[in-house]
């Protein structure tokens, strides 16, 4: 076989890491293979789960020069299940408790900081429900940067009777450990522009470094290229904002 010299080579695959409570959980890991040192990004998947689209996002961070890992938040409820079945099972069981989420992200941080050839700098990013969880992680753990992509229920309460274990977490803003990039759609109802404005004001009052962008004509999940909510202009600009933010803070 002919040997092919590759630049920008990366490796990606599923591994096991220690999560909350020392539990062994599945995670998708992607990394450049060249010489480091590397900074890292933790990707928190959306409610539909540990799916192909989220793994592609994880690989994209590796392509851009970051070690990246996405813990499977549904590892315990549905080990080995397909992402959609796992998401349905997790939803039926009440979703991911906040404390466990923080423990799983903490486990991912420990894993990344234990690797050779690392700057030990770690960012977290999450989409949709993962946006809220990214903010939660950044308010609970010492991180270097956090990105919240349209996370709902940071400010507002979930609908009456919602069985999932989530609630507003604005009171945690005082503990935000790192700069926060927020990317939102002006047409989104979860979170509404008013909720985004309230979070912005709260962080301003607390003197917490943050940078928010809200895109006109974009609603929820505007980054998702496999969904009708995709908005190319907002997504392209959002990715540019992400690369600049990570370059500045990692």
């Amino acid at each position: 076989m002919t040997s092919i010299h590759m630049k920008d080579q990366l490796v990606a695959g599923t591994i096991e890491i220690k999560g909350s409570g020392g539990d062994s959980i599945e995670a998708y890991y992607a990394s450049p293979t060249g010489e480091g040192p590397y900074s890292s990004v933790i990707v928190i998947h959306h409610m539909p789960g540990f799916d192909d689209a989220t793994k592609e996002i994880t690989r994209n961070f590796a392509y851009h020069g970051y070690r990246s890992i996405c813990p499977n938040l549904y590892s315990r409820e549905a080990p080995g299940a397909s992402p959609d079945d796992a998401a349905a099972t997790a939803r039926s069981m009440g979703g991911v408790p906040d404390e466990r989420l923080v423990g799983d992200v903490s486990g991912a941080v420990d894993f990344l900081r234990s690797l050779d050839d690392t700057t030990k700098k770690v960012a977290v990013i999450g989409y949709c429900s993962g946006g809220r969880q990214s903010f939660l992680a950044a308010c609970s753990l010492p991180l270097d940067a956090a990105i919240d992509c349209y996370g709902a229920y940071v400010v507002a309460s979930p609908p009456e009777g919602a069985p999932l274990k989530v609630g507003p977490i604005l009171d945690k803003a005082k503990d935000l450990s790192c700069p926060l990039l927020g990317l939102f759609g002006e047409e989104d109802k979860f979170p509404t522009p008013e909720e985004v404005a309230e979070l912005d004001r709260t962080l301003q009052d607390l003197g917490k470094e943050h940078e928010f962008h809200s895109y006109p004509g974009a609603g929820h999940a505007f980054f998702a290229p496999n969904r009708p909510s995709y908005r190319v202009e907002a997504a392209n600009d959002g990715w540019q904002k992400i690369w600049a933010f990570l370059a500045k803070n990692l």
Partner: protein
């Protein structure tokens, strides 16, 4: 949006999924992102049996008009036949 809003229903019955027929014990009803239907959101039904595992699942992703028509059709069918109290209370012998 991730609406989070989920109605849960206890179920007595059977469904056919990827593993063939199985006993259904739980139903989740929610309006959220679909996996397959090309809509932003859909009315989703997950018929489940958590004891058997995540892959024992019968899933539907419907547009709201279809979901309303389905709900009405179910009520219409039940109203048109004389369903007895005994019919209403049928269960699996293993549950009694």
């Amino acid at each position: 949006m991730c609406t989070y809003l989920t109605e849960k229903v206890s179920v007595v019955g059977s469904g056919k999924g990827a593993n063939g027929w199985f006993k259904v014990t739980d139903l989740s009803v929610y309006f959220d992102h679909p996996v397959h239907a090309p809509f932003g959101h859909s009315l989703n039904l997950d018929f489940l049996n958590p004891e058997l595992g995540p892959s024992y699942r019968l899933a539907l992703e419907l547009n709201p008009a279809t979901a309303r028509a389905l709900a009405q059709a179910i009520l219409d069918v039940l109203d048109k036949i004389p369903v007895t109290e005994e019919d209403e209370q049928q269960s699996f012998a293993s549950d009694s």
